[in-house]
Amino acid sequence: MERRDFLKQSTLASSLFFVPNFVKAFENVSKSTFKHKKLVIIQLSGGNDGLNTIIPYTNDIYFKNRPKLSIPKNNVIKATDELGFHQNLAPLKNLYDQGYVSIINNVGYPNPNRSHFRSTDIWQTASNADEYLSSGWVGRFIEKYGKNPYLGIELDDSLSLIMKGENMNGIATKNPNILFANTNTAYFKKVLEQQTDAHLSEHNLGYLYKTMIEAKSSAKYIYETSKTYKSSIAYPNNPFGNQLKTTAEFINSDLDSKVYYVSMGGFDTHANQANKQSKLLKTYSESVEVFVNDLKKNDTFKDTLILTFSEFGRRVQQNAAGGTDHGAANNIFLIGENLKKKGFYNEAPNLVNLDTNGDLIHTLDFRSVYATILDKWLQVDDASILNKSFSKLDFI
């Protein structure tokens, strides 16, 4: 952000700062009833190898580039004439067969960065490759349309950049009991109990008190509201399954939160990829299937959209260690009941026309995906959240 813009924004923000919340809420009433729509974002952290996930099983170039790592045709769960699922994605294929999945190929951005940190920043802030933003796109959504941090929940103990706004952030918790307990520790509680009225016009001190009060009320709200529903379906017993289980409990308790962010680790497969990725895809797809069933059982699936992405794909050519190195464009998954374009949204990856690193070239900008979700699903003004207008896609 330009310094001048930043100054402008921060003065604007500070003048907004003490406008009572109810006034702010009126200002930002959304176009219509986005009220019940939920978005669940899953990041496959480390860079998932998209080509061994959705496999171009009839493409010779794929097999030539991966003599050791390619998935034999017979092991692929075929979906189209060109593409099929990894065999451990059978649960995802089930969802696909029911018309709940839309796969968008070749998603990325110009001048792709191959550092996990930087590329995650870019995906999370929705910036250009040469631009540094200090707020995440979900954070900006929360800031613009929310009164409380719980509008966006990260299923973790600390908050990622994606959930951070400038003056209002989401909140992180993988266990509402612990979160609630932590806002009830001796000093936090005692200091807050003393607070009588509107706080301090002091710049930073006011911000601290405001954040503290919001933290406390969000923690209380999440804790008390989410008590009403406990999942009875058995989830795969692993941390990712638990994250989704908690998410389902939040959604099914009718928590007023709109966006959930879950990060699943382990996808940085530079060596011995085959086994590692197989396991990961199994964990991912089994957990997601149970999650969808849990939501369906409670009639909340119709209002939930699940986006799965990774900070980058991996190189077309395998490396010497039985793995793949950091790449560029990749596929993303959208899962929901109301998809307009079910199955494969666009063309299969082009393995002939690669960039100078030997990586897939993107044909769709990831911010078009965000813009579409913001506009058509959450029904808010996408351009003001993404700082720019991006062409919309047609998947919902």
Binding site: S45, G46, T196, H199, K276
Partner: protein
């Protein structure tokens, strides 16, 4: 000097000051206090780990290494070497709390967030850190030129790959955007031309800078309206001719050392000082001796960075971490791990340190450090981790920090303080009215206890 002013000075120029030192400075004039602060920073020690066990992989070629070790042994040694950056992190935190060169250490931390760099190679990142330390109070012109030639920087911003036939503009762009001028104060053409001047910049195995003549573009370049056969140093000189460069750095200094809200008139004042000769010491001395630095509006209004918070507490009650990894845990939970900045733009600081989760954690930090409080939150895994490792600590609920505390040292200095004196000593910010009432009605069991309580109110987050 007034107590509050001494504290203000020492919080900004360092990480706070203990009550005994405050007492000893009260009768001294501001000029003398500041000049001693400056003088104390002339001598300093480098941050250095014993890395002798890695000498062979540092100096030997791959071929020589393969003659002596197996592939596996080399990999093992390299992995071990890469983990040393963590140790350097712990050593740096210790140094921040212990060094006598107070201002130099604080400035080193400041510059590390201006000339942001990240490198897993221990030799080069250690060298880089010491280059920051050496120049922290020196001449900015020399500073920029030295940083630009550091192996870590040549790697981090791809200047190493910047070659005559295939220029890489990354360093040239960030040099202007983030290190010297700020966005919008140069053209795309300036980037292209200056990138050519930095072609062929590289380093040797021992870390020394080298200009690879066959990769360098000796042709004419036009940069900021000037034309000549410029090399990288010339480019830096031309950048520094722009007053915007002095302003850009002074703006960062202002936000970090004076007030997150910039007073344009004061900024202009210090910019003029700095622009004269780019002497960092002079700039800092001017700020610390000026009357307005001690204005009420500048005191206790800055949100402490996680490192300032952590080191500041240790200055009051010295602690040692029996398990150094727990220092890493604390930094991760609060969002600032030294040597691991998020990206080349560095930590934004200020309000961005604070969200619901970090604030709860930060307010719990004093009891975690000083009264064996239990914590049940886990840090995030790393990108490179396997699935199992990513969630590794999942099951280790309810941990506490293994720490040795020197309460005796605290008692010796602070035992005699009355409640009001304790508040004045620990809290620089204005007190929220309700919190003040709360403190007044608090039954004080001991000063140890009261110290932890005071460190746990929101006001302690400010300095």
């Amino acid at each position: 000097m007034k107590q509050k002013h001494i504290q203000h000075l020492y919080w900004r120029a360092s990480f706070g000051i203990d009550i005994k030192q405050i007492e000893s400075l009260k009768s001294t004039s501001k000029l003398k206090v500041v000049s001693k602060l400056m003088a104390d920073s002339t001598e300093f020690k480098n941050l250095e780990l014993d890395l002798s066990e890695f000498d062979e992989i540092k100096y030997k070629t791959n071929k020589e290494l393969k003659e002596k070790f197996t592939e596996e042994e080399i990999q093992k040694l390299k992995n071990k070497k890469n983990r040393k950056v963590r140790d350097l992190n712990y050593a740096w935190i210790d140094k921040l709390g212990e060094s006598k060169a107070l201002l130099r250490e604080k400035m080193t931390l400041f510059w590390a967030n201006v000339f942001v760099c990240r490198d897993n190679e221990i030799f080069s990142i250690q060298k880089y850190n010491n280059t920051l330390r050496k120049n922290a109070l020196g001449n900015f012109r020399v500073f920029v030129k030295e940083v630009a030639k550091e192996p870590s920087m040549l790697k981090y911003l791809n200047n190493k790959q910047n070659k005559k036939r295939k220029p890489n503009e990354n360093f040239a762009r960030e040099l202007m955007e983030l290190f010297t001028l700020g966005v919008g104060n140069y053209t795309e053409q300036d980037i292209k031309e200056s990138a050519r001047a930095f072609t062929g910049w590289n380093f040797m195995k021992n870390g020394d800078f080298i200009l690879q003549k066959n990769q360098h573009d000796f042709e004419e370049k036009t940069f900021f309206g000037k034309t000549g056969n410029f090399d990288g140093d010339d480019i830096i000189d031309i950048i520094l001719e722009q007053k915007q460069c002095a302003r850009f750095i002074c703006d960062k200094v202002y936000r970090y050392f004076i007030n997150p809200k910039v007073d344009e008139k004061r900024l202009e004042e210090i910019t003029n000082i700095f622009y004269k000769d780019y002497n960092i010491s002079n700039l800092m001395e001017h700020i610390f001796t000026s009357k307005w630095f001690y204005d009420e509006e500048n005191i206790g209004v800055k949100i402490k960075s996680p490192i300032e918070l952590l080191v500041g507490i240790q200055k009051v009650v010295p602690v040692t971490f029996d398990k150094k990894q727990q220092l890493n845990y604390l930094q991760k939970m609060m969002g600032q791990t030294l040597f691991y900045p998020d990206n080349v733009a560095g930590w934004k600081g200020g309000k961005s340190w604070i969200d619901s989760n970090t604030l709860m954690f930060r307010m719990k930090l004093p009891s975690l450090l000083l009264s064996n409080a239990v914590i049940n939150l886990e840090e995030k895994g790393e990108f490179e981790d396997s699935f199992e490792k990513y969630y590794k600590s999942e099951k280790k609920q309810n941990k506490y920090l293994k720490i040795t505390k020197s309460w005796e040292s605290f008692d010796e200095k602070n035992q005699h303080l009355k409640a009001k004196e304790m508040i004045d000593f620990l809290i620089l910010s204005k007190l929220d009215k309700d919190t003040a009432t709360f403190l007044e009605n608090l039954e004080i069991k001991s000063n140890r206890n009261f110290c932890i309580q005071l460190m746990s109110i929101p006001e302690y987050q400010l300095c």
